[in-house]
């Protein structure tokens, strides 16, 4: 048998040792393998594309994003916190579906479930803040390292847009929780204490003022999704209204009214519409720019936050029956046959006695906006044919109605073709702020400043627009919206007349607030408005129990589960700060985020 010579043995050993030595002589062995794969780094983004992209991401956080949405608390419209929590709508679906919303609706905001939803909202708005602040930091970095990258105008606008967005996100946090922390681009400590709600408003206004100085008068690059100086001014007025700085609000709004680019849409059907030509009309101040069939495989950029709020099977939409308008809201659209004014104004103790369902053929006159806001049995549902009570998931639980504003028109072609239940997904924009909202806040400020005629003019302007079109038989776009006295209308009598006089401040206040409810119903504003008015406890408690202001019409007899609702008390002034965030803010055993009083 052949044996290996000593020489070859040695040679073999030498090769082995050499190879080994080479391997660990190669210092890069570990560091090369430590490079992350399939990702970008900070350097890659320190340029124009990076700054612009970062800003785009800051806009995108206006509605639920893939990365943050664990439930529907992220919805741009605030339908859970602004509509379901108010007298506009119920949770809907069946009793056990999305149980956290039951807790929000029952004002049990300290429960774990409510905490989950609140945490989603908190996470969503602060993600927006983070994205806005990253944009500002990146912009600063690029301006420093490569000053010619951006023209001054562009750099200013980018900074202005980011600062505006930061103000918007903080505004969202502020109107939810009041006492929240404010984060700017140089903040590195993410466990800052929250500040008093009044101080937050000051910070928001400070940012809005900076944005107003930086922003151009028209959206940069002509891209309608961007904020302009007017957007920021409109927001300024909004914050002034929320903080009852009436004189300042009037000044801000009147400037916009006289010099700004906004007008009311010509008719109601164009306000919430998925037709592209109506999606960024003159009434849009700021909207979440939804898109569908844009190459995203899950339709995540469409009206994602609203996707539960569609009629159930066997309707075309098939799911999920959330956010159905309340009987109370439907009754609010009833009109006094003689004056054409809201019945709740002319008959303040009896307008809410009907327990419904209010179906087609009931010719009690109604405001035509009812059938742009609420889907009800037998009435055409935009251009999808007649709405049927059979489309309701569980009428016993959620009542017979469904929301309508967020429904895309069949003829619009805006429906998604991809994702879970694509028929509930469309590119209908979500209004975050529209001109009617602004005008009604001006009217509110006018009333508080004693300018009752000014307020009435605005209310009547809104009512005049409402009187232009009503829901039509809806086989095509032309027949979907028709004059309110068109003989083809067989399911309702529509009437909406102007006020002839505002005899007192109290009357005017009531008229403006009522108009605001009717015009902005189901748009996620109502609960925040009630808080602002300071009437939230009265309105909500009597909404639920019928007492003490309204006879009949207690929702806890219409929707029995409402018997479990807590009465609104002082602690409901603000939503509970999500417990998880309080926990996470702890430094050295001390919670930096202080929970709101009562929670």
């Amino acid at each position: 048998m052949a044996t290996l010579s000593k020489k070859s043995l040695l040679r073999g050993t030498a090769v082995m040792i050499l190879a080994t030595a080479m391997l660990y002589g190669c210092k890069d062995f570990l560091s090369t393998a430590s490079e992350p794969q399939g990702t970008l780094n900070q350097t890659t983004l320190a340029n124009r594309a990076g700054v612009e992209g970062s800003l785009i991401a800051a806009y995108r956080a206006l509605d639920c994003t893939d990365a943050t949405s664990s439930n529907w608390g992220c919805a741009a419209s605030n339908w859970v916190f602004g509509s379901v929590a108010s007298d506009d709508s119920y949770k809907g679906s069946d009793g056990l579906d999305q149980p956290p919303i039951n807790d929000i609706e029952g004002y049990h905001w300290g429960t774990p479930g409510a905490g989950d939803y609140l945490n989603t909202k908190w996470t969503q708005v602060y993600e927006g803040v983070v994205r806005a602040n990253s944009t500002l930091r990146l912009l600063k970095q690029v301006k420093a390292s490569s000053p010619t990258t951006f023209s001054t105008a562009d750099a200013n606008s980018i900074a202005g847009e980011a600062i505006f967005l930061r103000a918007h996100y903080h505004f969202e946090a502020w109107r939810m929780w009041g006492n929240v922390p404010y984060y700017r681009e140089d903040d590195a400590d993410f466990r800052k204490p929250n500040i008093d709600s009044a101080a937050v408003a000051v910070e928001i206004l400070k940012d809005l003022d900076s944005a107003i100085k930086l922003l151009p008068t028209t959206p940069r690059n002509g891209q309608v999704g961007r904020a302009s100086q007017w957007t920021a001014k409109a927001y300024r007025g909004r914050v002034e209204t929320y903080t009852k700085q009436w004189a300042a609000a009037v000044a801000t709004f009147k400037d916009i009214q006289s010099n700004g680019p906004y007008r009311l849409e010509t008719s109601s059907d164009r306000v919430w519409s998925a037709y592209q030509d109506a999606s960024n009309g003159p009434e849009t101040i700021f909207a979440y720019q939804a898109s569908s069939n844009d190459g995203e495989p899950n339709a995540a950029n469409s009206n994602y936050g609203e996707r539960l709020n569609f009629p159930y099977s066997p309707s075309h939409f098939a799911c999920c029956g959330f956010d159905p308008p309340s009987q109370n809201l439907v009754n609010a659209f009833l009109v006094d046959p003689a004056s054409g004014l809201p019945l709740s104004i002319t008959a303040p103790t009896t307008w809410n006695t009907s327990n419904g369902p209010f179906v087609a053929g009931n010719m009690t006159p109604v405001d035509p906006r009812l059938d742009w806001t609420v889907g009800r049995d037998g009435v055409p549902f935009k251009d999808w044919g007649n709405y049927s009570i059979a489309w309701v998931r569980d009428p016993q639980n959620g009542g017979p109605y469904m929301p309508k504003k967020i429904i895309h028109e069949k003829g619009s072609g805006a429906e998604a073709t991809v994702g879970w239940q694509p028929q509930q997904q469309s590119s209908i924009n979500i209004h975050l702020y529209r001109y009617a909202d602004l005008l009604l806040m001006l009217a509110e400020a006018d009333v508080e400043q004693g300018d009752l005629p000014g307020a009435m003019t605005i209310v009547n302007q809104i009512r005049a627009r409402a009187a232009v079109t009503a829901q039509g038989p809806g086989t095509d776009r032309a027949s979907m919206a028709i004059p309110i006295n068109d003989p083809r209308i067989t399911w309702a009598t529509y009437k909406v007349s102007p006020y002839l006089t505002f005899p007192s401040v109290a009357y005017a206040r009531q008229a403006v607030q009522t108009e605001r409810r009717l015009e902005l119903a189901m748009e996620g504003q109502r609960f925040f408005d009630l808080r602002r008015y300071g009437t939230v406890a009265d309105v909500i408690n009597s909404y639920i129990t019928g007492l003490p202001t309204i006879s009949g019409g207690a929702e806890n007899t219409r929707r029995l589960y409402k018997q479990g609702a807590e009465p609104i008390i002082a602690k409901h002034r603000w939503y509970a700060i999500p417990n998880l965030q309080v926990e996470l803010s702890r430094v050295g055993g001390v919670d930096m985020l202080k929970q709101n009083t009562g929670w």
């Binding site: 992350p36 159930y312 430094v587």
Partner: protein, 1076 residues
């Protein structure tokens, strides 16, 4: 001799192959018993004490002639005059002797002392007596008495200190945990197969029959030589590398059987529609609501509807009864998918529709042989296990070639296994998440039919509240969803014996893996929440991992002491790449059209995605051992590892370990005792590491996604522009997770080795836990940085007691651990586990408590009456018959702060019992496994008790629900308005203890003189035939659901949650092992 005619026709595929095997068998039969020039040899085999040994196999070397000793130890065999006889018996040292013309050959066989076993541990093999750490050897033979794709499934019963969680889905993952849980994430041990590291995923590709030995290194003093990767323990698996000198020896093992689920939901749930209605009716009546009439008609005389759904276009104006129910529908107007007609059912047994018995088969053929200069072992395996759920199947084929060559001082060789497996049905790791084959869909109401009037799948459309899908459709449509794994795994090695004392070894291990999956998403027009667009996806994952290790070993024996030294170096690296494509709205759903191509679907929905990862490790290690007179044993280990996953300045970690052993029976004072034959006391201490985190996390990462950061800034409604955000926060200071363990143990052989006891007590503390604690939302949604923070502790003991009798043997092993979170990040006192159910956070990780504890209210029975409600703390929705939650903090209000720990999924004790016996040619064995004191969170109650989404309900719900006259009911009052009682509470927490007869086997070895198949062993085997448990859900043996966090696998935070887990299988099979 049987005649083999030439007229047979060759059959196709497997049967042809089987026929070939059959022919070989016949040939073998023909060969045996025909040798000439033989002696008839008889003899008796006894123990050194003179006791006869039965069941000892006597074999004539180089032939297939064999026999077995009878109960009196006697045997008879015919052998050539110059033959060599080999005697082998369980628990005894083999004996070889030459016949040398004798006709009587008596033999004495000594029992093998447990301590004399040679076990492979860490780069080399050691005598058991030299081991000072906690090392358990697996009885591979017993483990293989279970029909499993992966040998891991049997480990919990076989090794003290090991828990295994798995379900009955064929080819599903087995989650192995060694001595508790050390980390918040990724607690998988490392598997070293023939010297090359492998992940959990490889274990399904490894044929259990190829395994020669498994050692589990449980403590750091044993495992520290694997340093950075050993923090969760090490499982060392050696395959059948040793061939035997002589002509090819062929072994054929065939096992085939039938599996059925150990239990079914039809044992638990209603299967009659009208019974279901009674529950529904009561829920409405108790709520004071009118009972719906749309499905069952008049509540006082309910009936199963003719149709649960008939599209309005198929129903004439007069075809409805007074309540609007459809009486007749026009089948000619049926049109799929737009106008469906679905009949009502008297009671669909959904369980039976989907679940049943399924075949399982395992074929192994191996060929061994060699000479002094070489040895080979080639094996083939085909394993096919159909799921007990329909259209669900796991198949694996593998080929292994192990060879070794000796050339003087040089030896070299390789072990290579090529395996390919297929999971059909797309549910190998179904863990009950909604949408799985089991979960919520199997809880569909009985009134819904399986098929509509045209034979298409029916669904819940028209039945209020139902949003589940037809589970049979789920299974059927997923039947072509196939996941494939192709793996080439192995190593090549070379060794050089420079001198008798000094040897060098080098080994290159590799693992080339390719996984792919295709999936189909189907439409469900028959559902309330109809899915109207179909979709497909296809993905491909490739990874290349290699490891190169070089070691030198020096052994020196002095007069009374011996010394060994091992030094080594190792480098390893891996990279992987993942590519996925998908498209929706296929024009044609035919299998041949399911490709991601523009023309085959809607090109706008096409989506392509790729990702990848890289990592590398560099290591140096050494080990020194000293043994004085087999009395004092000491070993020291030191390993240094550098990992690319960690921060540049913290890349290198040092992992020391030491072990001391004292063989007390070799001391003079115990020299003459008759009880203690051999006692070794062991102490071990060591540090191991963990760096099992995603690569690239030392720097911040940025990215985006069309659905997350892209936005339609132009207001086009149809187009988006790109956006970016920070996706992960980096931590340049990432360092090792450090695991320190102390182990005190004893190996005790009593009564001349008739009783062997191994006992270990340990304390295992993990420091610098690699963990990504949540950041405040103010830091954004980017994945939080992974930091070294937190501490966890596991204390416990494990033991085994074994007896090796002359005709029977028994081994009992048991283990206990107590897991405790000592610190999270120094700030947080808790964080929630993954939130994957509809009732919110149910698992929590809290200081001082075990990982993944259940969290919620304490349910204190039901409110008795209105006075009880008033007397109790304020609780939302409180009413008689609803669940009363305890006011834990005594503030008079039931809210968040009253939630507390309500149970632990960790067992207090687990035990395995292995029994074996043989008499003559018969042998029998059984394995029993039990787990005690663990709790299960029965999340399925959300559906089958609280009726979330109008699910089917438990059989006893109507009879056992609270009523004013049934105050001590099992369930709260049936009440449609009760949305409160279902909150996460101890009401869901159940005892998960069970004892299960894991396997039972009865075998018969045919005598060597048998006419057919001489020497073959045939057996009958049963698995999971019997379970004792108080758990009233489906199956108490369930895996932790898949859960992933930002920094990897976090399934340990969601243990013991019953979300509908694929039940274990009851398998009855027959098998044969024959050599020729």
């Amino acid at each position: 001799m049987e005649k083999v005619s030439g007229t047979h026709s060759f059959l196709n595929g497997r049967s042809r192959w089987l026929r070939a095997v059959g022919l070989s068998l016949l040939f073998a039969v023909a060969l045996s018993g025909t040798a000439l020039g033989q002696l008839a040899v008889t003899g008796t085999v006894t123990s050194p004490g003179g006791a006869p040994l039965s069941g000892v196999t006597v074999r004539v070397n180089g032939t297939d002639i064999r026999t077995v000793t009878d109960p009196s130890g006697k045997y008879r065999i015919s052998a050539p005059t110059d033959a060599v006889l080999t005697f082998t018996g369980v628990g005894h040292r083999p004996v070889q002797t030459t016949v040398a013309g004798r006709t009587t050959v008596d033999v004495t066989m000594a029992a093998i002392s447990y301590l004399e076993e040679v076990v492979v541990t860490a780069y080399t093999s050691q005598r058991r007596a030299d081991i000072t750490g906690a090392v358990s050897s697996v009885n591979v033979e017993a483990a293989n008495k279970q029909t499993q794709a992966s040998v891991l499934k049997a480990l919990d019963a076989a090794v003290p200190g090991v828990t295994v969680l798995s379900n009955g889905s064929p080819g599903s993952r087995s989650t192995v945990r060694i001595r508790g849980i050390g980390s918040f994430q990724n607690n998988d041990p490392i598997y070293i197969v023939d010297g090359a590291p492998a992940g959990d995923a490889y274990m399904n590709s490894l044929n259990p029959d190829d395994i020669a030995s498994i050692q589990v290194l449980k403590d750091a003093s044993a495992a520290a030589i694997y340093g950075a990767q050993a923090g969760n323990g090490v499982v060392i698996i050696e395959t059948n590398r040793k061939g035997v000198a002589g002509p090819p020896q062929v072994t054929l093992r065939v096992r085939t059987g039938v599996a059925s689920p150990v239990s079914g939901y039809n044992d638990i749930l209603l299967t009659n529609s009208l019974d279901y209605f009674q529950v529904l009716r009561q829920r409405y009546l108790n709520a004071g609501l009118p009972v719906p009439t749309t499905v069952y008609g008049d509540p006082n005389s309910p009936s199963v509807p003719n149709y649960t759904w008939a599209d309005p276009s198929t129903v004439c104006a007069t075809c409805r009864d007074a309540l609007g129910r459809v009486v007749t529908a026009d089948p000619s107007k049926y049109s799929y998918p737009n106008a469906l007609i679905m009949p009502g059912s008297q009671g669909t047994d959904w369980w039976k529709a989907v679940w049943g018995s399924a075949p399982v088969s395992d074929y192994n053929l191996d060929v061994k042989g060699g000479s002094d200069a070489n040895a080979y072992n080639v094996s083939f395996n085909y394993y096919d296990q159909a799921g007990t759920a329909k259209y669900n199947d796991f198949r694996r084929g593998s080929v292994r070639v192990n060879t070794s060559f000796n050339r003087s001082k040089l030896n070299f060789g390789e072990n290579i296994a090529i395996s390919t497996d297929r999971h059909y049905g797309g549910i190998p790791n179904d863990n009950g998440g909604e949408g799985g084959i089991l979960s919520k869909d199997i809880l569909l109401q009985p009134v819904i039919s399986i098929y509509d009037i045209n034979g298409n799948f029916a669904g819940g459309k028209g039945v209020p509240g139902v949003n589940s899908s037809n589970p049979l459709q789920n299974a059927f449509n997923a039947k072509d969803n196939v996941a494939k794994d192709n793996v080439v795994f192995g190593s090549v090695f070379g060794g050089l014996d420079l001198s008798p004392q000094l040897t060098f070894k080098t080994k290159l291990g590799f693992n080339l893996t390719q996984n792919s999956a295709v999936g189909y998403g189907w439409t469900t027009p028959q559902n309330n929440e109809a899915n109207t667009s179909n979709s497909i996806f296809e993905n491909n994952f490739q990874s290349t991992d290699w490891v190169w290790s070089n070691i030198a070993q020096y052994l020196k024996t002095f007069s009374r002491s011996s010394f060994d030294l091992l030094v080594g170096q190792e480098a390893s690296a891996g990279n992987n790449r993942f590519l996925q494509g998908s498209i929706n709205n296929l024009l044609n759903t035919d299998l041949n059209s399911r490709y991601v191509q523009d023309a085959l679907g809607d090109p706008n929905t096409k989506n392509v995605f790729s990702s990848g990862g890289r990592n590398a490790l560099m290591s140096f290690f050494g080990k020194a051992g000293y043994n004085y007179a087999d009395k004092y044993v000491a070993s020291f280990t030191l390993r240094k590892d550098g990992s690319s996953n960690l921060g540049p300045t913290h890349r290198w970690g040092t992992f020391p370990a030491a072990g001391l052993g004292w063989r007390i029976t070799n001391e003079p004072f115990l020299a003459n005792n008759r009880i203690l034959s051999d006692v070794m006391l062991r102490y071990g201490w060591g540090v191991t590491g963990n760096q099992n985190i995603p690569s690239g996390r030392i720097v911040s990462q940025f990215g985006g996604d069309r659905g997350d950061t892209f936005y339609d800034i132009t207001g086009s409604n149809t187009s988006i522009v790109p956006g970016f955000r920070q996706t992960a926060l980096g931590n340049p200071d990432l360092k090792w997770e450090e695991n320190r363990s102390t182990n005190v143990g004893a190996d005790i052989a009593l009564f001349e080795g008739n009783l062997n006891v191994v006992l270990d007590v340990y304390n295992r503390a993990t420091n610098n836990l690699l963990f990504a604690p949540s950041t405040p939302a103010a830091a954004g949604v980017a994945s939080p940085p992974i930091v070294n923070i937190g501490k966890m502790e596991n204390k416990g003991f494990d033991f085994s007691v074994g007896h090796q009798g002359s005709w029977w043997n028994a081994t009992l092993n048991g283990s206990h651990y107590k897991n405790k979170i000592v610190s999270i990040d120094g700030v947080q006192t808790f964080f929630y586990g993954p939130n994957q159910t509809r009732i919110g956070n149910i698992a929590i990780n809290m200081l001082g408590q075990p990982i993944g504890s259940f969290y919620g209210y304490i349910a204190d029975g039901f409110f008795r009456d209105a006075a009880d409600v008033t007397a109790h703390a304020t609780q939302a929705g409180a009413a008689p018959g609803r669940i009363k939650f305890r006011d834990v903090n005594g503030d008079g209000v039931i809210n968040n702060s009253d939630r507390t720990i309500i149970g632990s999924p960790h067992p207090k004790f687990t035990a395995g019992l292995d029994l074996g016996a043989h008499r003559g040619n018969w042998d029998a064995s059984a394995t029993i496994f039990g787990t005690y004191g663990n709790k299960i969170f029965e999340n399925q109650m959300d559906f089958y008790v609280f009726q979330d989404f109008a699910s089917n309900v438990r059989k006893d719900l109507l009879a056992n629900s609270w009523t004013p006259t049934n105050l001590n009911a099992k369930y709260p009052r049936l009440d449609f308005n009760d949305i409160y009682s279902g909150a996460a509470s101890s009401f869901y927490v159940k005892d998960g203890s069970y004892t299960r007869l894991r396997s039972m086997q009865l075998g018969y070895t045919l005598p060597s003189g048998a006419r057919y198949l001489p020497g073959a062993r045939v057996y009958l085997q049963g698995e999971n035939l019997f379970t004792h448990t108080n758990y009233d859900g489906l199956d108490p043996a369930m895996p932790a659901g898949n859960a992933f966090g930002a920094a990897g696998d976090i399934r340990d935070q969601l243990m013991g949650v019953d979300q509908g887990s694929y039940p274990s299988n009851k398998i009855v099979s027959i098998g044969i092992v024959t050599k020729f």
